[in-house]
């Protein structure tokens, strides 16, 4: 088919393109240089974890809530196709079950994508917000993962619809989650991607959880740079 647009249409398209460029430039994030926060990440000894978390096929993810309570998320140990992610919070009486916070069904309902199974979770508390990132595997765990993100603002009772992270050019066949989240001095976070031999590269997230960059290596800590 031949295309013979009039001059007006051509100028209109060029103007739209120019506007699109300007809008994309305006939207481009300009965060300050990344610096690690000197605050250490939460750590719980293996013995402190609930028994169900210790039996998980993936490493459980602990975090410390703003009120000082410990919280742990883990992938259920059971049939891989039906395993979901569970959360417990420790109060004065011991571990309190918060229930299943993500499953294949909830992922399909929120993001409209089909996952054969879920994978490793990463939990992080930032003030009153509780963030959960987890893997969803469209073609099984060996073929790569889609990374999902969900947030709770009421201490883990209710969670927002999980949203897919644009972490890879390969669709659902991207890298898996690494193991240790790193807080940044500006309030943001570095979300680790798994690599042979350790964590990295790192997805840089803003304070609100938006993905704004990908770093090949860990930046220096804030205290080191001001020394």
């Amino acid at each position: 088919m031949t295309e013979q647009p009039g001059n007006l249409l051509r100028w209109l398209a060029l103007a739209l393109f120019g506007l699109g460029l300007a809008a994309a430039g305006w939207r481009t994030p300009t965060p300050p240089p990344a610096m690690l926060s000197p605050a250490p990440a939460a750590h719980l000894a293996g013995d402190d974890l609930p028994a169900a978390a210790r039996a998980s096929p993936e490493r459980p993810s602990p975090t410390r809530l703003a009120n000082g309570q410990a919280a742990v998320a883990w992938l259920e140990n059971g049939e891989a196709e039906s395993a979901g992610i569970r959360l417990v919070i420790r109060d004065a009486t011991g571990w309190r079950e918060m229930g299943r916070i993500a499953s294949r069904e909830s992922t399909a309902a929120a993001a409209f994508l089909h996952a054969q199974r879920l994978g490793r979770p990463l939990l992080w508390a930032e003030g009153g917000w509780l963030h959960l990132w987890y893997e969803a595997h469209p073609l099984g765990s060996a073929a790569g993962a889609v990374l999902m993100h969900s947030v709770s603002t009421d201490g883990g009772r209710q969670w927002t619809n999980a949203r897919r992270l644009d972490s890879t050019p390969f669709g659902g066949l991207g890298p898996r989650l690494g193991e240790t989240l790193r807080p940044l001095a500006d309030g943001g976070l570095l979300l680790p991607l798994a690599q042979a031999g350790g964590d990295g590269p790192w997805l840089r997230l803003s304070v609100t959880g938006q993905l704004i960059d990908r770093l090949p290596a860990l930046p220096v800590a804030a205290a080191e740079t001001t020394r």
């Binding site: 393109f17 699109g20 939207r27 993001a111 669709g171 659902g172």
Partner: protein, 181 residues
């Protein structure tokens, strides 16, 4: 509540399914087959599987699918755009595998260099009168600016588009070879 991000991915992949089904032609039944395939892909779960495996369709792929469904594919041949798409896809794959220095995909999160490279491309497209491609690129830029994609590469390219462009190049090469023999 349904998020715009998820709705775009699902409906976009369903439309791409419909456009793919209409590729062979089918004469006067083309539009009906495209519509039926779009609906069936939503009902039987093909679109969610495509969304999981390929990710949300890039604005480029969705734009081309809509052009195809409307029977108005961009003029001027597909070889050069397909070469550019496959070249960029290959470079992204090589950079991710460590075959190229730097992280090409990370450029898309703060895409000033990409925007700078798109400016002359847009001017050339305007000069050549390739209005449809210019509008598709503008759509991709607006999709990124509107927050539909966190990475500009995602608005421009996706694995399915790269595969289809590679297939189109192979097909063109085979036809050329057959003609010369």
């Amino acid at each position: 509540m349904i998020s715009l991000h998820a709705a775009y991915g699902l409906l976009g992949q369903a439309l791409v399914c419909g456009a793919l089904a209409a590729l062979p032609g089918f004469g006067i039944f083309r539009a009906r087959i495209a519509l039926a395939t779009t609906a069936v892909s939503l009902l039987v779960g093909i679109a969610p599987i495509m969304l999981a495996v390929f990710g949300p369709p890039s604005a480029t792929l969705l734009g081309l699918a809509l052009c195809h469904l409307a029977g108005r594919l961009p003029a001027g041949g597909a070889t050069r755009p397909a070469l550019l798409i496959v070249g960029c896809g290959g470079a992204l794959a090589l950079a991710t595998a460590g075959g190229l220095p730097g992280d090409l995909y990370a450029l898309g999160y703060r895409p000033w260099p990409l925007l700078a490279a798109l400016l002359p491309l847009g001017l050339v497209l305007a000069w050549q009168g390739r209005t449809a491609w210019l509008l598709i690129l503008a759509g991709a830029l607006f999709a990124y600016a509107g927050g539909l994609f966190a990475n500009l590469w995602g608005a421009l390219l996706d694995p399915l588009l790269i595969g289809l462009a590679g297939g189109a190049l192979l097909r063109a090469g085979l036809f050329r070879r057959r003609r010369t023999t």
